[in-house]
Every structure is written in structure tokens, then in C-alpha cells.
Amino acid sequence: MIIEPRLVITMAVICLVGIGVYGLLITRNLIKVIVALQILVKGAILALVLAAELQGQIQLGQSLALTLIVADTIVAVVGLALGLQVRRRVGSLDLRDLSKLKG
């Protein structure tokens, strides 16, 4: 049985999106949230390139994916820096502790 590569990649994209959404929902550690976001964006990058390949415009997909990678890296960097500050000031990376802050 020959499996169509595009079908495999489509299924992989759906799995990555599912894993990323599940991770975002289930975890409450700040760094784990960023890990889940990275996985979600990997699915989006693959989906962009796959859609561009299906339309015969692979270079356009690559340029859009480049923008996405840059934005995702900036989000990760700023998120990790925020995590460092939260850890220093609150003493924990737990998101529930952040929601209990007042003032």
C-alpha cells in the first residue's frame, strides 16, 4: 500500500495542532505553555508550506513561514523573559499563582 505523502503531512499537521492545543489547555507552567505554543506554531508552519505546495507556490509559502518563525521566536524569547521575572518576583512558574496576585 502506497501512502500519499501529502496525506501523511496533513495528518501530522492536525496531530501537531491537537497536541499544541492540548498542551496549552492542560499545563499551568509558564515555560511549558511556551513549549506547547512552539508545537502549535510548528503545525502552522507545516500547514503553510503544505498549502503553498498544493497551490504550486512553494516560495510564497516559504516566505510566509519565515515570517511565522521570526514572530514565533520573538514570542518565545519574550515569554521566557517574562517567566524569569515572574519566577523572581512570585517565586513560582505556576499560572494560578499569577491569578492570585492583587494590587
Binding site: 501523511v8 492545543v21 518563525i69 520573538i74
Partner: protein, 165 residues
């Protein structure tokens, strides 16, 4: 067949990155997932973005994660979920259904057919504004990091940029 193996490895690494109870192991599994993603992108005929994904996703971001985990240390609060797992699974199923609905045949919007482009000319001529915005985004990220990491000794001051004496 190669796509199946690579996609399987990518999903396996992604699952372990979420399931792992240690943050450092989670970061390493995320790097593995990035490496498999880069291989998959190469197999799809996008070598330039595969190289960028490999160097940025598996290299730079992993180094940043290890740096951050080294400073913050492992947190024991990673085990308990924030919401019930049943609710999370329902939400994931809804998200996958919505995503699958968008990629079904007949739902895709028709794009305007254009000729074959070269990535560099596409980036620097057709999408020059986007490139300028990316550069601005990178500088904004660097400035944000410097603001967040610098001058953090003053209590009650999050940014640390302004000091009142």
C-alpha cells in the same frame, strides 16, 4: 514511506515534550520535534525554510529554553493540570474538527495563480514591507528582553527601566 517515519518521529517528540514532567527534558524533546519538522520541510521541497527551522527552532530556541530553565530551576508544579482533562480533550477535538473543516476539499479559497518565484526576490521585492516589519519585530524583541532582564532588583517595579531616586 520516509514521510511516515519522519512525521511519526515528529509527533512522538511533540507528545513527549508535553508529557514530560521535567522542563529540561521537555525542551530537548521540543528540539527533536523541530529537527523532524525541518526534515519534513526539506522533503516537501522547501529547503531554505528547513535550514532556518533547524537553526532557529532546534538551535536558538533550545538554547534559550535551557538558559531560562537553568535560571528558574525545575518547578514541581508542572504535574497537575490547569483544567480537567476531559474538558481539554473536548476542546482539542473541537479545534481539530474546525481545522479539518478548513482543509477539506471545496473549502479552500482559490489563490491567484502566479509564475514560479525565487525566494529572495519574493522576500525583498514583493514582501519588502513584511521584511521591514520583521526587522522591527526583532528589534522590539531585543529591547523587550533588555527591559525585562535589566534592573530587576527594585521591588514592585516590573519593567526596571525607570528608577525613581
Amino acid at each position: 514511506m520516509l514521510e511516515v517515519v519522519v512525521a511519526g518521529g515528529m509527533i512522538f517528540c511533540a507528545v513527549l515534550a508535553i508529557r514530560s514532567s521535567h522542563l529540561l527534558q521537555s525542551a530537548i524533546w521540543l528540539a527533536g520535534s523541530s529537527a523532524f519538522t525541518a526534515i519534513l520541510l526539506y522533503l516537501m521541497g522547501a529547503p531554505q525554510i528547513a535550514v532556518i527551522e533547524l537553526s532557529v527552532g532546534a538551535g536558538l530556541v533550545t538554547v534559550l529554553f535551557v538558559f531560562a530553565i537553568n535560571i528558574t530551576g525545575e518547578d514541581a508544579s508542572t504535574v497537575l493540570p490547569s483544567i480537567p482533562r476531559g474538558v481539554a480533550w473536548v476542546a482539542v477535538a473541537l479545534a481539530i474538527a474546525a481545522f479539518t473543516g478548513m482543509v477539506l476539499p471545496g473549502q479552500r479559497p482559490a489563490l491567484v495563480e502566479t509564475g514560479p518565484e525565487v525566494l529572495t526576490s519574493l522576500l525583498w521585492k514583493d514582501r519588502a514591507v513584511d521584511m521591514v516589519l520583521q526587522v522591527a519585530l526583532i528589534f522590539a524583541g531585543v529591547l523587550g528582553i533588555l527591559t525585562l532582564l535589566g534592573g530587576n532588583e527594585d521591588a514592585g517595579e516590573i519593567s526596571g527601566g525607570a528608577h525613581d531616586h
